[in-house]
Symmetry: C2
Subunit: 410 residues, 2 copies
């Protein structure tokens, strides 16, 4: 059996253990919801206050130039680039993940004007489909081809009629990780572009956008990047497309000369053209502070720790909570940094865990989802969480429960 | 001649003079850039900090429900509704103005599937055209019919082929105000929908969306609503359309049951379906605090004061700065709350004004633009601004200047 001594030894050997002190976690809480909303950094509030009081309050409109607001979408993008394997100038931070999917797929369709088929996963995060549905209603002739969840089935769906393949690197529910490099090779072999959604992988596991050769990527900054609730998303556009790519949500902050107020849209060079309206400067400050947390952190060591946390959780659940089915892959190479545990009373289990100060969430219909954010979790936290799980299961509180709580937001 | 005594008398009689104390304006600055970026409220920083430290830091993911984050887009919308004549449940705060234009025009085209013509102003704010261009490239068959700036020419462009008419209530450069009610009647008479952009009017002059009968409106919260740099925009959808309207940027936060994770998009009831991705909670906090400033303020008295400030500025410029051409309408009913002053050396004048602690901006090629935000400006501030203008003109510094500064953001 794995015990406290084992967990303490892992914490003692953790090369990034000190990073936890950069977070303002509530005392006594084991927070396994970081795959849904990341934790607050200790310096985030001060940076936000600086932006609000000094840059906005004192600098007022001149801060657009004097404080570098204008450059922030790409400056933040470059900071994220280090975490997802993208060299400078290919990522813009702007809008939401949903909107950036719209832009990326729209751009892909404009790159291949004679193709109208988009391949996506049958079990993709639902907003992907909602976005594709909306884009399809606008285009009129978009064909959505759903495949998977088996990677082989996804690959088989890609043929010479396909304009774009949109996949989630890590599945929001099961944590299943796709081989994006292989799918990209397959897509390119058929003249299609590859788009990957990094919502559940950026900041949690290794991502190598340039190396994989994907064409577009989108991602979320409020999960493992700890940018705060509803913090702006990002979009990556491979440099080889920069000269000729266009996207449907053209707005003045993506214009080459926004203050010339020209009547025709002239896209800015590079990924800047994927910015649309005026970007959220106060939200950028929170994200900037959140990215400071990574300063001096060995990124690969962090990802390695995340996988070790997952391994520990899985082995403890196997040993001590056999009522729960581990519904995530056991192979590190095939999974992200959260764990799906299946149980018919998932809602009640998560509610009862919360009363024991262990925070996770539920995905319909029966998945207890626990996120293992490497920057601020300890191996002993995992032990505490499984102790709580065992305690909940022993008391089977759902036998007397008549209602389930409203699920929280991913 | 109008003098200090007159301005002081106007300040003494100002029924909302006390509201100025709710703003943290830099000492000694006359800020006439509030039509570009509104000023910071004294309590905004604290509300943002509360959201960051308490709601996010302590509450973590449970704040989506416990702190009411989920309801914020519409709760904030209702607060704005009071300022723009919209009864509850018709405004959502989300995304940028540019994106909300895309949604509104996209929705209008879906309401009239057999029509492909959109009428817009020849001199509209440029992002309107950039957005229409992007939407057109997606739709494939959108016809953009430009007209104006004369209202008669705009009205004449509306015929039975038109799906939607998109107008700016107040022109960003000249401050020309359109009769939106009349244009709406004209549009409806031809089976078209009316969309109005309130960027330069919401919070500055009277807006009566329900009363005018417009179908959609969009607006900006970082100008006269003081929501902060890049604060989220809003969209109004008239209640009569709620049951059947759809819009192209469908995302999971506009879904009827976002946590059911259904594969098909089911739009939420009402204007909620115009929300797309996860909304910016920290930015919402700043906007919420900015709207608190309006508590107990007689809105019509504020708008009346704005017009009186404009009157004073125009009369002082006429008297004392004849080199400047007043390029805004002189009739209150035909203008917004800023003033365009034309001069070939507009850039240099604005730069020199700034060295005298008077902040305005430039619009190409030759417009000095001065915003008169009623909540925090005094009549004596206008006098100080015109003193500075006269001083700048007397010293004609541009004779020795070889370059112009980069313009600031609207």
């Amino acid at each position: 059996m794995t015990g406290r001594a084992d967990a303490e030894a892992l914490d003692a050997a953790d090369p990034i253990a000190a990073v936890r002190a950069r977070f303002a976690l509530p005392r006594g809480v084991v927070y396994l919801g970081g795959n849904s909303l990341g934790a607050l950094g200790t310096r985030t509030g001060a940076k936000v206050a600086e932006t609000v009081e000094r840059e906005w309050g004192d600098g007022l409109v001149s801060s657009w130039n004097d404080a570098g607001w204008w450059d922030r979408p790409l400056a933040l993008g470059d900071r994220i680039g280090r975490l997802v394997g993208a060299s400078a100038g290919q990522i813009a931070v702007c809008d939401s993940t949903s909107l950036n999917i719209y832009k990326a797929v729209g751009a892909a369709l404009q790159l291949a004007p004679d193709r109208r088929v988009v391949v996506a996963e049958r079990d993709c995060f639902p907003t992907d489909r909602y976005v594709l549905e909306g884009l399809g209603s606008t285009l009129g002739d978009l064909e959505l081809r759903l495949a998977g969840p088996e990677p082989g089935e996804l690959a088989a769906a890609i043929d010479d009629s396909v304009a774009a393949v949109l996949v989630n690197h890590v599945d929001y529910r099961s944590a299943r990780r796709l081989d994006v490099r292989a799918l990209t090779v397959r897509a390119h072999g058929h003249g299609a572009v590859a788009i990957v959604d990094l919502a559940h992988s950026a900041g949690a596991i290794e991502v190598a956008l340039d190396d994989w050769g994907v064409d577009f990527a989108v991602g979320c900054t409020y999960k493992y990047l700890n940018g705060g609730p509803g913090s702006p998303a990002f979009i990556y556009v491979a440099r080889r497309h920069h000269d000729h790519v266009s996207q449907p949500l053209s707005g003045w902050h993506g214009h080459a000369r926004p203050f010339a107020f020209t009547t025709a849209y002239e896209p800015a060079p590079g990924v800047r053209r994927f910015v649309c309206g005026t970007p959220p400067i106060v939200a950028y400050a929170a994200l900037d502070a959140a990215l400071d947390v990574w300063d001096g952190v060995d990124v690969l060591a962090a990802f390695e720790k995340g996988q070790a946390l997952v391994d520990l959780l899985v082995s403890l659940v196997d040993e001590r909570c056999p009522e729960l089915e581990v519904a995530s892959p056991r192979d590190r190479a095939l999974r992200g940094s959260h764990v799906a545990l299946r149980h018919v009373h998932a809602h009640s289990i998560v509610r009862e865990l919360a009363t024991r100060h262990v925070v996770g969430d539920v995905r319909e219909p029966d998945v207890v989802r626990l996120g293992l954010a490497p920057l601020y979790l300890r191996f002993t936290d995992v032990l505490v969480a499984v102790d709580a799980l065992r305690d909940v299961l022993d008391h089977e509180p759902w036998r007397n429960s008549t209602s389930d709580p409203r699920p929280t937001v991913t």
